[in-house]
């Protein structure tokens, strides 16, 4: 769920845009450098962005019986790394705002901060932590997707609580209110996205190894696990 257009007061909208801007600029510089050194990577990055956009449009069943869509940030961070995800996530959110009326332009900064900055970095950190503890690929991928999804919604809760503090208990009460609402829906969804992402990566290991290897053009080191699956 993205924060809807006009939902945040102007000051908050500007502040979150300012907070997200350095990460997006850093990602844009990394992307520009990559494209300059390897012009062919433009097409691969375009494909990566399209994949993230389409992934975020898939509806996944939730444990509570409702339906939602994956954020795709955990998988994106593992496949493309967080700085590139900051740019691809921003592009995805912009397209969702203008093509699907989902999210918004005044809330773009806040949504970018939660979904394209904090989510991917948290997911990638979880992935690296599990791998550093000699965990195998699938638990690491699950941790990345689960953490990225849940972190995104935790940050969104904090953003909403800051914008609309509770009349009686202030920020803490509002955080409990928004976090409580998200906990009911998003913890099951984070588990669902984690499981879905594991299945996607498993299938990619079988059918898309060439494409995964081609991501090498974005200048990262790949590792191949015991099952021969390529991932970062």
């Amino acid at each position: 769920m993205h924060i809807a257009e006009g939902y945040l007061p102007p000051l908050h909208a500007v502040a979150w845009s300012a907070a997200a801007a350095p990460f997006v600029v850093h990602g844009a510089r990394a992307l520009t450098r990559e494209v300059r050194e390897n012009p062919g990577s433009t097409l691969m990055l375009g494909a990566s962005g399209a994949f993230v956009f389409v992934l975020s449009a898939l509806k996944i069943p939730s444990v509570t019986g409702s339906c939602s869509h994956p954020t795709g940030t955990g998988l994106g961070a593992v496949l493309f790394r967080p700085p590139v995800m900051a740019v691809l996530g921003t592009v995805t959110l912009l397209f969702q705002a203008l093509l699907l009326a989902h999210g918004g332009l005044t809330t773009l900064g806040a949504n970018v901060f939660s979904m394209a900055v904090v989510g991917p970095w948290a997911g990638y950190a979880a992935y690296r932590a599990v791998r550093a503890l000699r965990g195998s690929l699938m638990p690491a991928v699950f941790a990345a997707a689960f953490t990225a999804d849940l972190t995104t919604y935790c940050v969104t809760s904090a953003q909403l609580a800051l914008a609309f503090p509770d009349p009686a208990t202030g920020f803490a009460g509002a955080l409990a209110k928004f976090g409580g609402i998200f906990a009911v829906t998003q913890v099951p969804l984070a588990v669902s996205e984690g499981l879905l992402t594991v299945l996607v990566v498993r299938l990619l290991g079988q059918s898309g190894r060439g494409e995964l290897a081609r991501l090498d053009t974005t200048g990262r080191e790949d590792t191949t696990d015991a099952e021969g699956t390529v991932a970062r």
Binding site: E5, T42, L45, A50, V54, L55, L99, L160, P167, L199
Partner: protein, 252 residues
Amino acid sequence: MLPIDAAAHTSRWRRRHPVDKAVLALGLTAAAVALPPWPGAVLVGAVTLVLLLCAARVPAGRLWRAFRVPLGFCVTGSLTLLVQVNGFSDPAGFVGPAPDGPLHAAELLARTAAASLAVLLFAFTTPLSDVLPRLTALGVPPAVVDVTALVYRMSFLLLDSVSTVREAQAARLGYTDRRAARRSLAGLGATAFVRAFDHAARLQDGLAGRGYTGSLRVLVDDVRICPRFVAASLALVACVTGTALLLGRILP
């Protein structure tokens, strides 16, 4: 093609420069967010609706189908303001009705609905393919613009592919229960990934044969910014702002 973008390509204002429409739509969005919700957001919403239906001639049914999505989020988001958290020690209970909750919820609903309509005014009249090549003028690095334009073009191909694969999966009973649905969705995600990179590889081969050097320049329609339209847009936004502030003093 997605419905909003398809509508934008056939819009009455399609041949206007994106800056013309951005000044009008984003000006109204800013007014919706910055003005007091009553009567500011209500006035902005009404003016935007008239512009959408009468000036830009967006079909009402198409507008409603696009607007009901953000409207649902606006309503859901506003409901949270109806309750407050009292804490565990409060005899009234952990949660209770918030004082002025309905008023704040209505104000938030008006603000988000008006701002959403104003953004839809831009989205329904301006195809993204008109906007993206011009982003370099705003200081966006050309490499980022190229990647963004590719994402835009590849997304439609990929959405078509995903839709076809999903139909095939459904025909093979791939969504009969939750477990099957999860397996089918995973296959869908993996297929999208493989196809995205397959499209990119074939595009790269084709471009290489045409002497690709890393730049993906496209022809942009030679339309100019219309100073009269921009001036009228600014005047309308100023008029709406002034009227809202004036009415705010008069109305209760």
